[in-house]
């Protein structure tokens, strides 16, 4: 088991079947792809501590977050994880800056505002700090969600279909944002998506998930060259 990066091994027969084992190195983007209902979101939720799998092990940089045998289960607020939700999940009553500042809980109060502004600037939202989520566009909301995820100084960044709720143009901009981020961040990043082309561009490796099981892990060009995988993924796209 690697001491650096993310190491995941999860197994359960139901209610949502899962049988996965993989690692993700610091600075690596691992794309998680699979048909609807394959267990992609459940996998991310289990890593974040929002879902408790029956059996398995999750460790980040050698620190154990979940070990069913040793009965270790760190609650989500004690895991340094950045999670970008599909529908952004911003706090509707707080401004963009406060949405980010909430996650700066470990920073001194006096630094939170400036640090939040810094993070919002990093995702190109300068001048929009005071706006509530309802006053932002879909793309801007997702950028706030990314800034909030980064505010935790995460050990691992989980992106759950972060581009699915935005238009094509915004999607391209957000993808560029992820490319820029991965250059700066030396942490494992898991990107769940339905879009095969998108993940092939952004990910270093692909993990193909079907009915909770890992079918194949490898470089995007190798994985996507497999006829069975193409049939699985394109069949899903056609549906």
């Amino acid at each position: 088991m690697a001491d650096q990066g993310l190491s995941v091994s999860l197994r359960q027969a139901g209610p949502i079947p899962l049988d996965v084992a993989f690692t993700c190195a610091p600075g690596e983007v691992l794309g998680i792809v699979g048909p609807s209902g394959a267990g992609k979101t459940t996998l991310l939720r289990a890593i974040a501590g929002l879902y408790r799998c029956h059996a398995g092990h999750v460790a980040v940089d050698g620190a154990v977050w979940f070990d069913s045998q040793a009965k270790v289960f760190l609650p989500p607020h004690r895991r340094r994880v950045g999670l970008v939700f599909q529908e952004h999940a911003l706090f509707p009553h707080l401004s963009a800056a406060d949405n980010v500042a909430v996650a700066l809980i470990d920073h001194p109060q006096s630094e939170r505002r400036s640090r939040a502004a810094e993070l919002l600037s990093r995702v190109h939202l300068d001048g929009l700090e005071g706006r509530k989520p309802a006053e932002l566009s879909g793309g801007q909301r997702q950028r706030v969600a990314i800034a909030r995820a980064l505010a935790r100084d995460p050990k691992v960044l989980l992106l759950d279909e972060p581009f699915s709720a935005v238009d094509r143009r915004t999607r391209v901009h957000l993808q560029a944002e992820i490319v820029a981020l991965r250059k700066d961040l030396a942490i494992p990043m898991l990107l769940v998506t339905h879009d095969v082309d998108e993940v092939a561009r952004l990910a270093d490796r692909l993990c193909i998930l079907d009915q909770g099981r890992v079918c194949l892990i490898g470089r995007p060009e190798d994985v996507l060259a497999e006829p069975a995988i193409r049939a699985l993924l394109l069949g899903d796209a056609a549906a």
């Binding site: 929002l50 989500p76 706090f91 009553h93 809980i105 309802a134 935790r152």
Partner: protein
């Protein structure tokens, strides 16, 4: 106008609201966020005072608080006076018959929170306690305020249970609702009218204020 009864009603409403809001909040969150065995039974018990005839509820409460009951004996041994037909007994009864008015608005408000917003708070590093104060409470406060207003005004107007459990002892258990009944029995229509109008104005005023404070919350949050 029976000012003593009015003052007693206000005290009863204030004590009920103060004691019931924390308890109601815990129950509302439990029912809104957790799935557990017996949840349906608990929800039915909480809602029961809404559909039970007040005299039935009052009878059971009186039986539970009476001098021969375990609770009644325990109370008398500690405080030296019976729980039934006392102000304290009225408060206990009031806590029970107001349960649905306190719990339901808060439960609905918590249920209306998008689940991923709470989860986003946890993965942002907020403990469940901090998530409650920073995220849940500010978003669910219209429900909390509605529960407070409903509990307060419903206590002011409750008649059947109060009569069964408290009797109508002046200065001890005679509330404004009982005083109105008493004045009508005595053909003192003028006093009954005045007290009824006061309760009517008080209740409508409280609801208008609550609606005014909570209106636009949805618009502000989009």
């Amino acid at each position: 106008m029976d000012w003593e009864a009015f003052k007693l009603s206000l005290w009863l409403a204030a004590w009920t609201a103060a004691l019931l809001m924390p308890l109601g909040l815990v129950l509302a969150r439990l029912l809104a966020f957790h799935r557990f065995r017996g949840r349906g039974v608990l929800e039915a018990l909480v809602m029961a005072p809404l559909v039970l005839p007040p005299t039935v509820l009052g009878f059971y409460l009186l039986s539970a608080m009476g001098g021969n009951s375990s609770l009644g004996k325990l109370w008398t041994s500690i405080f030296g006076h019976p729980l039934a037909f006392s102000f304290e007994g009225l408060v206990v009864a009031s806590l029970i018959f107001n349960l649905p008015f306190a719990v339901q608005p808060m439960q609905r408000a918590f249920e209306a929170l998008p689940p991923d917003v709470r989860e986003a708070a946890w993965v942002s590093g907020l403990s469940p306690w901090r998530t409650f104060w920073r995220i849940e409470a500010p978003l669910a406060w219209p429900g909390v305020l509605s529960a407070l207003v409903l509990t307060f005004t419903h206590t002011l107007g409750e008649f059947g249970v109060v009569l069964m459990v408290g009797g109508s002892i002046p200065g001890e258990t005679r509330t404004l609702a009982l005083a109105i009944y008493d004045r009508v029995q005595a053909f003192d229509t003028e006093a009954a009218q005045m007290m009824s109008a006061l309760l009517l104005l008080f209740s409508i005023g409280a609801i208008i204020i609550a609606n005014g404070l909570t209106s636009g919350v949805g618009r502000r949050h989009g």
